[in-house]
């Protein structure tokens, strides 16, 4: 399975500012995903990031609020822009498209964001 790291692991931010979260994988992968997870809740997919193309956003999420970069096959960033307290959540990066035929997703450790 892939080893995935995320930076930062947690942050406390002021309303109106932006935070960029980094996701690094130890091997080349096809697809990278960004999720949001409220405490005690399930995961909500924000967008799918394919290398070399624009990210595909799920309903309710827009590029202006959550711009995503995918410059190569091992790295992606998610920016949470113009933050409000409602953006306080855990943000998870995941990957698929490695060597497994199941194409299951493997997850990073997450970033806990608190917006004051």
């Amino acid at each position: 399975s892939a080893v995935i790291s995320q930076k930062p692991s947690r942050d406390i931010c002021q309303r109106g500012t932006s935070l960029t979260i980094q996701c690094q994988v130890d091997s080349q992968v096809t697809m990278m995903f960004w999720y949001r997870q409220q405490p005690g809740q399930s995961l909500t997919l924000i967008a799918t990031a394919n290398q070399g193309s624009e990210a595909t956003y799920e309903s309710g999420f827009v590029i202006d609020k959550f711009p995503i970069s995918r410059p190569n096959l091992t790295f992606s960033t998610l920016t949470v822009s113009n933050m409000s307290p409602e953006d306080s959540s855990i943000y998870l990066c995941s990957v698929s498209g490695g060597h497994s035929s199941y194409n299951e997703q493997f997850f990073g450790p997450g970033t806990r964001l608190t917006v004051l």
Partner: protein, 116 residues
């Protein structure tokens, strides 16, 4: 659209006992994959077990096994000889074999408590 339902928000089991977590799903497809993920308090999502829909044999991974009933669209997880480290949120998940984006649909999760 496919859906995944976990009807047990919380469950408790005595250490060393066996517990079964329920999951049902709805799909019109015949080829798909099913997964159970574990998320302990550290929030790291860990893949526990996976099942291909065309395989009749139930998947097993050490103390974890599934009961896959394709006609009933049921995919339960059995944990034998429960250990304190099994305490976590468990998510059932579905992936269509036809989805080139490898998206996964998650259930709402079951929080499992292990009683010493």
């Amino acid at each position: 659209a496919q859906t995944v339902t976990q009807s047990q928000p919380e469950m408790s089991v005595q250490e060393a006992e066996t517990v079964t977590l329920s999951c049902t799903y709805d799909t019109s497809e015949s080829d798909y994959y099913l997964f159970w993920y574990k998320q302990p308090p550290s929030r790291q999502m860990i893949l526990v077990i996976r099942q291909e829909a065309y395989k009749q044999q139930n998947a097993t991974e050490n103390r974890f096994s599934v009961n896959f009933q394709k006609a009933a669209k049921s995919f339960s997880l059995k944990i034998s000889d429960s250990q304190l480290g099994d305490a976590a949120m468990y998510f059932c998940a579905y992936r269509s074999a036809a989805d080139r984006d490898d998206k996964i649909i998650f259930g709402k999760g079951t929080r499992l408590h292990i009683l010493p």
